[in-house]
């Protein structure tokens, strides 16, 4: 059903215009990449401080207080451009195994952020000046570094999908994970 809805979304006027545009799509994607460097970059600096390998002497609250609004701002731009890029070709991304991996990693990153802010960060005053923050904070920082690196990797590989549904035969697990069956059935229905 999701595939059917997304296939319809991909036929709407604005979606087609976006995909076929000569400048808008590249502009959106370069904005996505620049805001990525801004967002992931500033988040990584904070993570390195949390892990305890950078910014000694700078309290963690300088990051979670002063810098975080800017990190969030870049994140908002990145999500907005990302959604528009998705809107340009929804079904193709939906059946892209790297895109699916990216979404899973994004959810993991979100969970990590929520755990950090709803628990560990509540007592930040007690350890904000520690060169080596408590174990839980260091783990949150490390998880963030790993997961966002994974998001960047899978995001870049979305464009090089070696497991495109149209390229068959693929191993069964690939078709399963990419949800290729739906496309296969629809393709067969066409004359």
């Amino acid at each position: 059903m999701i595939a059917g809805i997304l296939e319809w979304v991909g036929t709407t006027k604005w979606s087609v215009m976006l995909l076929e545009s000569y400048y808008v799509w590249p502009l959106l994607e370069s904005t996505h990449v620049v805001t990525l460097a801004f967002f992931v970059g500033t988040a990584l600096m904070m993570d390195l401080r949390l892990v305890g390998i950078a910014f000694p002497g700078v309290p963690v609250t300088a990051f979670t207080g002063r810098l975080l609004p800017w990190t969030r701002f870049a994140f908002a731009l990145m999500v907005a451009t990302g959604l528009l890029l998705f809107y340009s070709s929804p079904l193709r991304y939906y059946n892209n195994i790297f895109f699916r991996l990216k979404i899973v990693l994004l959810l993991a990153a979100g969970l990590n952020i929520w755990l950090f802010h709803s628990r560990i960060h509540l007592e930040v005053e007690e350890w904000e000046n520690d060169l080596r923050p408590p174990r839980a904070a260091r783990i949150a920082g490390l998880v963030s570094i790993i997961v966002w690196t994974g998001v960047v990797f899978s995001g870049r590989l979305v464009a090089y999908n070696w497991f495109e549904c149209e390229i068959q035969p693929q191993p069964g697990w690939v078709n399963f994970l990419a949800g290729c069956d739906a496309v296969g059935e629809e393709a067969m229905l066409e004359p």
């Binding site: 460097a37 970059g41 500033t42 988040a43 700078v58 800017w70 990797f153 870049r156």
Partner: protein, 157 residues
Amino acid sequence: MPEAWYPFFEWCEGTFLGSAVRESIYAFPLIEAVHLVALCVIGGAIIVVDLRMLGFGMKDQRIAELANHVRPWLVGGLVVMLSTGVLLFLGEAVKCFYNTAFWVKILTLPVALVFTFAVKGRLLDGLETGTRSRLLGSASLVLWLVVAAAGRWIGYS
């Protein structure tokens, strides 16, 4: 001037590394992904300091202090960036030769590097937020923005 460089670009593409990058379907995308992660590290290191120079972000720290903290990450990021960038270039040097975005990037990059280390880097001691710091911070952001955006744009032509 550019025409005279053509044989050099052709030679680059024919090098062992150039052919190796081209012949594997996995090499180019994976090197690109590493290039992109390094971009994030550099972006973070540059933006934390530049925002501060503009009077935003981590205002409780001195500009010079932040610049000292990010320096190893900036340099490390640049080392990875340049090595992966060279590999990507070797893989498609002739395409780059005919690519305007490539020339914009490759000519802005040395300017950005010299500006960051020889100009901005030397004026940090005791620098407070003011017109001078704001000018330095904006110039840095614009230069690196051009390098990053032109880099992405190489892939569109």
